[in-house]
Amino acid sequence: MLITTTTSWTLTPEDEHALRRGMERLLQESGAHCAMLVDRGGQLLVLAGAQPGFDATTFATLTAADFSANDQLARLLGETDFSSLFHQGDRESMLVADVARRAILVVLFDSRTTLGLVRLRARPTVDELSRIVDAMSARDAQSGAIRAILAGADDEIDRLFS
């Protein structure tokens, strides 16, 4: 069945708090210094840990595109997906993992920890974040939160573009 618009989703302060708590625990346990949760469309949802010295919006978009491209590569290889990706640099490395097929978790780390430890600690975090994201999706499918905010805002929208 064709749908008229793509689905929307909402991030409440409670969602943000729950997601951040899981991500901060991962950082503590793994020794990684920054974690980002990005939706598959490339929007940054939550950033935990040290503020990165780069434009996080751009970074989120590129990681989502990177992950999507690799998803397609996996399919060409006969896999359903690559559930995680690893990019190694001289100083900085990153692990990217799927979260409930709706988001991706990006973990940045350096030589103070190891890929093995980050990957080990990321696994339960991904499960925890997936449960939260699934619950958000189920709620958003019914709530129409954006509609509620923008309902009756036609005049305001017209003024914005006048």
Partner: protein, 225 residues
């Protein structure tokens, strides 16, 4: 995929500029980037080949103002127009909230325009999106060129309209951007059709670029409301 973030009081939406290669999609974004205050836009990212042809996408985040206390942030993307980049083109459409089709007005690009439009419908359908029911505008670019086809020809080829079967929508609907024209109208055969809004543009000079962006952004917000 629109996203509302209560924590940062933002509404985020994704717009995609689609169309044939060398039609002016990247030029649209470059003009927006140049003209919008740095405080209301992010970086322009281009994943391009060494000859500056778009390889994967261009990306520009722009804040367009505040509604109901929420900052409206639009993420603008272009796709690679060249036919053989369809895999990456399709990826960019994922979660799109509004589409701008940038057509090349030149007569000898008519076939490329039509192929690209068909490709857009096909790729959207593969995601389960119905383009005729989504925010969608067409921009006829390169209107300054002597080889540009008349708008009526471009409209007939690229925007002939789709059937309106819902009887509630079978009524004349004026085109807010073209006086005396209608977006929904009845043909002599009795059939009701609806067309996408269209704009004329010369993206290299910026003409029509913001008209197009404002129209698609407004359509997206009104659809969400």
């Amino acid at each position: 995929m629109s996203m509302i973030n209560y924590a940062s009081r933002e509404i985020n939406c994704k717009l995609v500029y689609y169309g044939p290669g060398l039609g002016g999609k990247t030029t649209n974004l470059e003009h927006v980037y140049k003209k919008v205050s740095p405080s209301t836009r992010g970086k322009l990212i281009s994943l391009a080949t060494e000859t500056e042809r778009t390889l994967f996408f261009d990306f520009l985040p722009v804040d367009l103002g505040t509604i109901r206390g929420f900052k409206t942030r639009f993420h603008l993307y272009t796709v690679p127009g060249q036919v053989y980049y369809n895999a990456s083109r399709k990826l960019i459409l994922k979660g799109v909230d509004g589409v701008v089709f940038v057509a090349d007005s030149q007569i000898d690009r008519m076939e490329a325009n039509q192929e690209s439009m068909q490709n857009l419908y096909d790729n959207m359908a593969e995601y389960g999106y119905d383009l005729t029911k989504m925010p969608f505008v067409i921009q006829y670019n390169k209107r300054d060129l002597p080889t540009a086809a008349p708008i009526t020809e471009l409209q007939a080829a690229l925007n002939p309209g789709w059937e309106v079967s819902d009887s509630d929508k079978q009524r004349l609907s004026p085109d807010p951007y073209h006086a005396g024209e209608y977006l929904t109208s009845q043909l002599a055969s009795g059939e009701w059709i609806e067309r996408a809004t269209h704009f004329e543009a010369v993206a290299v000079t910026g003409e029509g670029v913001f008209d197009t962006l404002k129209a698609i952004s407004k359509l997206v917000l009104k659809t969400l409301s």
